[in-house]
Symmetry: C2
Subunit: 351 residues, 2 copies
């Protein structure tokens, strides 16, 4: 809830609209609540467009790194705006976009990403157009731009400097359109983020170019909202104390594996240190090393933090490990099981 | 088919039995064919045990890094043998295993893996028991052992030397049981693998200890059998020629991303070089750089090789990218669509 209240405040004070990035979080059983605090959704595929339109409502932005010919009519039918990744896609589909507002993704060549893998400004990036000479001839066909170059960026100064570079580079284009989306990856719901400065900066940007600003929070909308609840199944000692739990990084928290990161467990205090491991066959299926007040034993429960963003959207059936149920804690504290997964779900995923 | 014929030949010449490792490949619409050449399946979870029993038949081995209390009865009901990862699991569930043959996983402390992530003998590994002093007291409770320390090992000499180390370390235990599974990861269906030496080595091992040998091929059973068919959606130039296709490494060929590897495309010849990229939002969603005879354009088809092992079992709905259909090429050359995925499949994966 804290995240949503911050988003609401930023909307009020900056004039920006906020769209949930479904690529990060698409657990639609909680959209009833989220839509009260956000303007709609943005997407990265036809299926996300449809999910946003059907389950969230509000403004539905359609973006994709590349739309297919056979998808475009369904995309147009379900979206309020369509944002193309390239001039090639814009020209290919302009006629079929009808009266829909049209945008183009710009790549400013700077980003806040520490990971090459996740850096939209990496060398040879395919994400957006970067060459003003190519963009100039098509500006008149556009109603807006999308720029997404922040990534878990909790540093307002860095955001501000990069936005300045964008203004310098693309300012002439920005003033010709009606709206600009600044994408996601801005960690403005984090503790201590200078919200007033952020809102002023957004408002100044909006006024300078005469555009409606959009933000597309993903992680920022759901950070610290969700845990992965796991149960210890076995303990072992092989140089270290090991605890095996009924989950798997690869199947249920994939980014830990892709980015070689450790999970977060709180309070992570006490004299008993364990390497907490998943139950898949992968040798490196390790959540991390954590401290506990008492020795772990089968049946003990561990809560793994920050299990919402870029987590549930990536879960898979590797090893046939039982997928965790999706359980919603309602505002009154009660728990509601939104989805349980069965053997039939596993079986039907394969053929 | 070539893989399956080699497996059949190894079974005949070595006396070993061969079980398909479902963790690697579980596309059950082709099991009708595979079961003619293999003895059954091995598994890494309750759901894989059930899938093996229901869709493949034959001998069904149940292994898991850790079984849960609430799973064990269903595991026992669906398996012919149960293999425990630890002495702790053996003792916890021995009573509930009934008359089922019981095994224990041994960790010989040596492996063929080049990747720390996939190395079962890595420091602090949780995969199997390694201390002879702990194993000795429980040998009488066991009917067999499982050892899995090969990983894409195409080097018979290395396999032979590691098996020698296993004989030296655990020989006294091996001669007390009825069967030994040598796991998977032995690339004996590859070109030029010395099959006769391999069969002799297995037979000698079997005779020396008086055990039935099992092999658990995964990748070896399906290598080169399957392609991921993708279509070019857009081309761009950003320092290199880029082609965006209607798929994603992260969603459809996850190991490329986890192990930072390039896909394989054949023939990969010609004057036109492209970086082939996926359509997910991930900046590093790149299949690799390949050469083509003609410039790529939207609509062109590219076949990505080796899309069976550890691929379909890991596909996921990241970005809502449409999952590829599973299409079977029958022995007469005809194509049969085994499974198509829909928006409803995507939606129901999330809540």
């Amino acid at each position: 809830m804290r995240n949503l209240r911050v988003i609401e405040r930023v909307r009020e004070h900056s004039g920006a609209k906020a769209l949930l990035a479904l690529k990060c979080f698409a657990t639609w059983s909680v959209f009833d609540l989220m839509r009260e605090y956000m303007d709609g959704t943005t997407s990265s595929s036809l299926f996300e467009v449809r999910l946003g339109r059907e389950t969230f409502g509000g403004e539905t932005h359609a973006y994709s790194v590349a739309f297919a010919d056979h998808e475009i009519d369904a995309v147009v039918a379900n979206a309020d705006k369509i944002i193309f990744n390239s001039i090639g896609q814009l020209e290919r589909f302009a006629d079929r976009a009808g009266a829909l507002a049209r945008g183009l993704r710009l790549n400013p060549g700077v980003s806040s990403s520490d990971f090459d893998l996740a850096d939209p400004a990496r060398p040879f990036s395919r994400l957006g157009e970067w060459d003003p000479e190519k963009i100039a001839p098509v500006v008149d066909e556009l109603d807006g731009f999308m720029i997404h170059n922040n990534c878990e960026n909790a540093d307002f100064g860095l955001f501000d400097r990069m936005l300045g570079q964008i203004e310098n580079r693309f300012g002439a284009f920005l003033s010709k359109v009606d709206w600009v989306s600044l994408g996601g990856g801005i960690h403005f719901t984090g503790e201590g983020y200078p919200l007033e400065l952020f809102c002023e900066r957004l408002k100044a940007f909006s006024q300078r170019f005469g555009v409606q600003v959009y933000l597309e929070p993903g992680e920022a909308a759901v950070t610290r909202s969700t845990t992965l609840e796991v149960t210890v199944l076995d303990t072992l000692h092989n140089g270290k104390d090991l605890a095996i739990v009924d989950s798997s990084t690869e199947a249920h928290m994939l980014d830990l594996l892709i980015y070689r990161q450790s999970a977060k467990v709180s309070p992570d205090k006490g004299p008993h240190r364990y390497m907490v491991c998943g139950k898949s066959c992968l040798a490196g299926d390790i959540f991390g090393e954590f401290s506990f007040e008492a020795p772990l034993k089968p049946g003990d429960r561990i809560s793994i933090n920050d299990a919402a963003g870029y987590t549930m959207v990536k879960k898979n059936w590797f090893n046939g490990v039982h997928m965790p149920s999706i359980v919603v804690r309602e505002l009154d504290g009660s728990l509601r099981v939104a989805r349980e997964f069965s053997f039939e779900d596993y079986k039907s995923s394969l053929s």
